[in-house]
């Protein structure tokens, strides 16, 4: 028996599954402290299914908390970037290609210092420790305690990033440091962007993960708990506290895998409407189509291996502004049950519109009876347009395509959309994310340096693959579900013996139940 939980901006969903069967599900509003919402939904789920806490073998959790924070520019900590690379790199400073409002949310503070490595491992310039110390002191004086450190060719040689981290930690008490070489691959701007976003989420990450822990402990659930990352595989809670940025695309991945599972369709566009954002992705042969080169998160370019997803600010809790008509991106999120008009609050939300239009009956519909029908009709049309435009951007043929609707916000959608051949709303669609989390796979990664003078390349690759498979097996995967999903080679020209860094990732289905 395992539980999949999805903590969305509005609702926290939970499913109980055994094998491929959904035993039960529950939804509860996400709470500000996060853990209460988890506790509530799990209590509801356990009551509904009469399952004892000790019968639960694993808990898998997916969350869009961190993505939402970036998209909405909320709960982000002020961050400073220290880039080690002078005299190189000054042509394009940090934040160069960022949307202005996101740069403003982080504060836009950066320091360029001397150092970095050439491709062959020689330093571009000697590391100037005083320079770094001075930058750290200035950062501390400005009250910033989240720092991202990037350096030229750090995936090949991380020494300078590590030394800089030591110096910064000595100057700033309780500082949260993100090192670019731990987060990204070759490509300085993309890797630095990922590190900066990771840093600005660090405080939020600690709060959120602790709230997850508290919720589970409070219910007596002692099963191991995992959080899903970008590629849909699971990682430990400790890992998420350090690398929240790796959860960015887990929501869409989970919702698409959940959508595929529920609908039985292998090729379709998936529209996941949450409380704050909607994500549109494409299922291709049962798996999310991957973004091939770079993925923009909140408008910022990264090079994570991620599903190709278009996110836009439409959800069940999105604010509706009138004159002129504007939908989102601000949303009441999980506060919908107190702030939406239908729940006695004062905010006009998209859910209020849906109730006023008679598309769904929840809350107190008399509280929206006063809304002008012109407004309701145009708001419904506008929401449909937002979805149609996004579906249109993601599909690859001009003709109509099948769409699978998932997520709690599907109440906002009518019976048909332009450009859509079939609109599917599978059973349990509203908890597709939680199901996706529950069926998520476990991953094992190997990242080692091999000397290709000592062993031939094919053998090194086979060794690395075998090791990755073994790691996945160790993490508890079913042996016949294990497959290699990613292989990457970085030749290290400066080391003798044709040294090459080989990274292999394998995944398998968790052997639970």
């Amino acid at each position: 028996m395992r539980i999949g939980i999805d903590v969305g901006g509005t609702n926290t969903d939970a499913v109980l599954m055994t094998g491929r069967t959904v035993v039960g599900w529950a939804k509860s509003p996400t709470t500000r402290d996060v853990s209460s919402g988890i506790t509530n939904v799990l209590q509801a789920l356990l009551a509904q299914t009469q399952v004892a806490p000790q019968d639960i073998s694993a808990v898998m959790l997916g969350t869009t908390h961190f993505t939402n924070a970036v998209v909405e520019r909320k709960s982000l900590s002020k961050t400073a970037v220290i880039r080690i690379g002078l005299p190189a790199t000054s042509a394009l400073p940090p934040y160069i290609d960022w949307p202005e409002d996101l740069t403003a949310a982080l504060g836009g503070v950066y320091y360029l210092v001397h150092g970095g490595y050439e491709f062959d491992g020689r330093p571009i310039a000697a590391l100037d420790e005083d320079e770094i110390r001075e930058a750290a002191q200035k950062i501390h004086a400005s009250g910033i305690d989240c720092v991202a450190i990037s350096s030229v060719f750090s995936p090949v040689n991380p020494d300078q990033e590590k030394r800089a981290a030591e110096i910064v930690a000595a100057e700033i008490p309780n500082v949260k440091i993100s090192l670019s070489h731990e987060i990204g691959r070759i490509g300085l701007l993309e890797r630095e962007n990922a590190a900066a976003m990771n840093a600005c989420l660090s405080h939020l990450a600690v709060r959120i993960v602790q709230s997850f822990r508290d919720a589970l402990a409070g219910l007596g659930i002692q099963a191991p708990f995992y959080i899903s990352q970008n590629d849909g595989t699971l990682m430990s809670a400790e890992f998420v506290e350090k690398y929240p940025v790796l959860t960015f695309a887990s929501g869409p991945t989970n919702s698409m895998r959940g959508a595929a599972f529920l609908s039985g369709l292998k090729d379709a566009v998936v529209v996941d409407i949450g409380g704050t954002t909607s994500d549109v992705g494409v299922l291709s042969q049962g798996f999310p189509r991957e973004a091939s080169i770079s993925v923009r998160i909140g408008g910022v370019r990264t090079n994570f291996r991620m599903p190709d997803v278009l996110s836009f600010g439409l959800g069940g809790g999105s604010h509706v502004k009138t004159e002129p008509l504007e939908i989102g991106p601000q949303s009441v999120g999980y506060e919908i049950t107190s702030r939406a008009l239908i729940f006695g609050g004062n905010d006009l939300t998209t859910t209020d519109i849906a109730v006023a239009a008679g598309m769904v009956d929840i809350g107190d519909k008399s509280r929206v009876a006063h809304l002008e029908s012109d407004l309701v009709v145009s708001a419904i049309r506008r929401m449909a347009e937002m979805i149609e435009i996004s579906v249109d951007r993601m599909k690859t043929t001009a003709g109509a395509v099948p769409v699978i609707l998932v997520g709690g916000g599907i109440i906002l959608v009518g019976d048909s959309l332009a450009g859509v051949s079939e609109l599917h709303r599978p059973e349990h669609a509203s908890v597709a994310n939680a199901i996706g989390a529950a069926i998520a796979q476990v991953g094992g990664e190997v990242d080692r340096i091999f000397s290709l003078d000592a062993i031939p390349r094919n053998e090194a690759l086979e060794q690395a693959k075998a090791e990755a498979r073994a790691r996945v097996l160790e993490s508890g995967a079913l042996p016949d579900t294990i497959e290699i999903v990613d292989v990457e080679e970085v030749p290290l020209a400066y080391l003798p013996g044709s040294a090459t860094r080989i990274r292999v990732k394998a995944v398998g289905t968790l052997a639970v139940d």
């Binding site: 005299p87 790199t89 070759i186 490509g187 300085l188 990613d486 292989v487 080679e489 020209a493």
Partner: protein
């Protein structure tokens, strides 16, 4: 004829240049940002055709030289191209009035835009390759006897050099070694040429071609028509393979990214495999052991859905691509041209066959 290049035009040029880059030419993203940054600071750049030059007016080419795998990591300091330009101007001994690109494929389409913006000089609508090529003598100006000397080099650390060699092939040897020691990336100014020399020896209109390709792809994506068809309409390209990347091997040797990519056929090409060899740029495409396209014709891999060109350093296991082939400029198809850029120069025991004879 003259018109202005601004932030938007740079977007289109960078995208079209990536198609002409045949897998090499450096990361268009970094070059694009650098050109746009300079335009923001100094204003838009005037693009002029060669016939606007007086016969004795002087122009010089500016470029970056090095391994693309390094260019995405070690971003330039910012002033290197001005350093290289000033050095070459002092050696040429007269005022240089025009900037041009020696290689419109890849980042070297946008580096000259940056320099032109920084100096307030016009940019010529031409280049020396019509694509990207790995070595510095692989330029049509070379075929017409124009020397790369004086050839100046600058890096971000302040190292600089001026080369005077007995021929352009020696220039490649020495410049490449210096570039490696500079950290596998260097800014160069070279191939100073008069208006008369440009008329005779350059490939005309390549900057506009790059812009048109980029614009066509962009418009196709917005209209949801096939971006690949748009590329074909603008360039005359043929689709020679459709496949999924199943293996990529890379090593950096003396400043070049050498390697090969293996594609497993999809759709109409199921059951066959294609092997593409590259040295920064794609050189040879073979299916089942037979060469079907070779240099100097252009071989570019693009994403199957979006038409986004893929550089050799971006290649990754699992990518689904279309392989496009385009005819090269006639200057390269002469006996002299093939000596410089034909397959045999690169060590392949095969004779050049124009792509249109196989695919028309």
């Amino acid at each position: 004829m003259r018109r202005m290049i601004g932030i938007k035009e740079v977007e289109d040029i960078a995208l079209g240049a990536a198609v002409l880059g045949t897998g090499g030419g450096g990361d268009p993203y970094v070059g694009k940002l650098m050109a746009q940054q300079a335009i923001r600071e100094h204003g838009p750049v005037e693009l002029v055709t060669a016939d606007e030059m007086a016969p004795e007016d002087m122009s010089v080419a500016i470029a970056m030289m090095g391994a693309p795998t390094v260019m995405v990591e070690k971003i330039p300091g910012g002033n290197e191209c001005v350093q290289a330009f000033k050095a070459v101007q002092s050696y040429v001994g007269k005022e240089i009035r025009y900037i041009y690109s020696i290689e419109a494929g890849g980042i070297n389409s946008t580096i000259p835009i940056r320099l032109a913006a920084q100096l307030g000089l016009p940019l010529l609508d031409l280049d020396g390759m019509g694509r990207a090529f790995p070595e510095i003598q692989m330029v049509t100006h070379n075929l017409f006897g124009i020397t790369a000397t004086p050839f100046t080099m600058a890096d971000e650390k302040g190292n600089s050099a001026v080369l005077a060699t007995i021929d352009n092939r020696w220039m490649e040897t020495f410049a490449r070694g210096i570039a490696v020691n500079m950290g596998a990336t260097a800014h160069i100014a070279c191939y100073a040429a008069t208006g008369a020399q440009q008329q005779e020896s350059a490939i005309h209109g390549t900057m506009s071609l790059a812009e048109n390709i980029g614009k066509a792809i962009r418009e196709a994506r917005t209209a949801h028509t096939n971006p690949i068809a748009a590329i074909q309409q603008t360039t005359g390209a043929f689709v020679v393979f459709h496949g999924k990347l199943i293996d990529v091997q890379r090593r950096t040797v003396a400043g070049f990214a050498h390697g090969s990519a293996v594609l497993e056929g999809i759709g109409a090409h199921s059951g066959t495999t294609m092997n593409i060899q590259f040295q920064n740029e794609n050189l040879i495409a073979e299916t089942d052991g037979e060469v079907i396209v070779s240099v100097p014709d252009l071989i570019t891999m693009v994403e199957e859905d979006t038409g986004e060109p893929i550089t050799t350093e971006q290649l990754r296991y699992g990518f689904r691509v279309l392989v496009l082939a385009m005819p090269c400029h006639p200057h390269w198809r002469t006996e002299q041209g093939l000596k410089v850029v034909g397959p045999r120069y690169f060590g392949y025991d095969t004779d050049y066959v124009p792509v249109e004879t196989r695919f028309a």
